[in-house]
Every structure is written in structure tokens, then in C-alpha cells.
Symmetry: C2
Subunit: 167 residues, 2 copies
């Protein structure tokens, strides 16, 4: 079947490859794995939702990768599931509003680190107060304060960033 006009979705055309490649290095900047870029990229240029199987056979990645990649993308709010009608499987569509994408990334990847950092700096401030040598204590105190300033700036900037990207 289908030798001349094979409507199967098993090969990406060059333009799709181009887009997928773009997203692959897009997500590398964000420190996310290649497969996530591939998956999001393919969803992004597909006019309708794709199933896990579609992703597996068009991107030639394993079911495992696809499943994990989709999970991460869901947690970032970058894809949403749509119920495939009569079909038993789930279809996925990309979120394409920058606000949503940035928001998810900030919430899932940046905020946790900021919080974590604040905690660590707290402990650091603690240790610093117990230093004997007054010169050293003073110096370290200043540096800890600097770290706290950084964190405050970060905390202040994130919401503004989200707001600015939401247009």
C-alpha cells in the first residue's frame, strides 16, 4: 500500500526537521534534554495533536523518552492533553503563549532554586555569626548580605518578567 501517496506520518519533511532542530537548541539553552526540544518542536508545527506513538515513530525516539519528555513538558505547562475522541489514546498539543511557557519554566525550574538558595544562605548566615576572628566575620557577613541582596533582586524580578512576557 501507499507507495506513491503514502499518507502515513512516519517521516518528517525537511521543514519539520528545521523547526525541530531549532527547538532542540532552544531547549539546550534552558538546560533541558534534546528529546524535549524534539517533542515540543514537532508538536509546535503539527496542525493537530499527536499521540505518544506518533512522536515515537516520527521522531524515532523510544517510548520511554517520549513518555518522560511529555511528563516534563506537562509539568512545565508546555503541552496539554486532549482526549482523542473515540480513540483510546491521549493526544498532546503545545501551549504556544510565551507567558505560559515562561511561567511554567520559572515556576518549575527557577523558583525552586531560588527558594533553595535562600535556605542555604540562611544556614550560611548562621555559620558566619559563629566565626571567631572579627575581621573574617565582618567580611563574610558582608558577602552573605550580598547574596541576600541578589536573592531579593531575583525574587523581585521574576514576577515582573512574567508580566512583561505576557503580551
Amino acid at each position: 500500500m501507499g507507495d506513491l501517496l503514502d499518507g502515513d506520518q512516519n517521516e518528517m519533511d525537511p521543514l519539520e526537521r528545521q523547526v525541530v532542530a531549532m527547538f532542540v537548541d532552544g531547549v539546550r539553552v534552558l538546560g533541558l534534554p534534546r528529546s524535549i526540544g524534539e517533542i515540543y518542536g514537532l508538536l509546535f508545527i503539527s496542525p493537530s495533536g499527536l499521540s505518544l506513538d506518533d512522536l515515537v515513530c516520527r521522531l524515532r525516539i523510544s517510548k520511554g523518552s517520549a513518555s518522560q519528555g511529555l511528563r516534563t513538558l506537562k509539568s512545565l505547562g508546555a503541552v496539554r492533553e486532549t482526549d482523542g475522541g473515540a480513540d483510546r489514546r491521549t493526544y498532546y498539543e503545545p501551549a504556544i503563549e510565551l507567558k505560559r511557557l515562561a511561567g511554567g519554566f520559572i515556576r518549575e525550574q527557577i523558583r525552586p532554586h531560588l527558594e533553595n538558595g535562600k535556605t542555604k544562605i540562611g544556614r550560611l548566615a548562621e555559620s558566619t555569626r559563629e566565626i571567631e576572628d572579627p575581621d573574617r566575620r565582618k567580611f563574610l557577613g558582608e558577602r552573605v548580605e550580598r547574596l541576600e541582596t541578589w536573592m531579593r533582586s531575583g525574587g523581585r524580578v521574576l514576577p515582573i518578567l512574567q508580566k512583561l512576557l505576557g503580551q
Copy 2:
């Protein structure tokens, strides 16, 4: 020598380790290698500049790592060299103003990717216009436009971000 009171700078104390560890995962978020976090971290809590050799023996990293790490940090504007007086070697001090750090990161790591992305989207727009099927062309045109919007938002936000962090 120096069994009781060894003033040599060969070991980090626990507090220094704590700070270095903090910076190590700080830089991981930014997609930079561990050694860069270690180097910057140690400089950050050292009251005076350190030489490449100081870094090598206190962090137990190779000269190669230290040299490359310092190069990256210099390119980011995160360390500056100071001339070690009578000494022949160079000493390094950290830049601690968030504005400067963020500025360097944006300039060296983010801007290039943005520019690169714009170029690729340009080519993509080109390819898209040559698509036969009008439905497909329309859909792809919309997606390319979306990408262009993202890039514009990014370009607009970066300078504001830098300004906001400069306080």
C-alpha cells in the same frame, strides 16, 4: 613543618566548602560547568585575590580546568585580573555586582542565541512561503509569526531585566 598552626592555604574550611557548593549548583542552573562555580565561589569568599595556583591547590582541580574556567569567567565579566604587585603571577577577584554578572551572562550566553534564533526563523519564514498547500502554508505562517513574536518579546525584555537587576 606547620603541624599545629599550618597557615598554608591548601585546605578549604567547612564554611568555604558550603559556599563553593552553593555556587556549584548556582551555575548549574545557568548551564555552566561545575568548575566555574567552584572557582567563582572560592573567589567570592576570599578576602583577597587568588592566583591560578591558589585555585588549583585549594579546589584540587587541574591547572587546565582553572585556566579555562577563569577564561570563561573573564569573558562573562565575572572576574577581573589584578596585578600581584612584586609577584609575577596574576591574581583574580570576583565581580560581585549583580548588574555586572547578569549583564555578562546576557551578553555572552543569551544574546547570541537570540540573534541566532532570529536568523533561523528568517530562513524558516522563507521556506514557509514556498509551501504549495495553502492550508499548510497558512498554518506554518502563523507559527512562524508566533516565533517572531517570542523573539521580539525576548529582545524587549532583556534590557529591562538588566536595568531591574542593576540595583
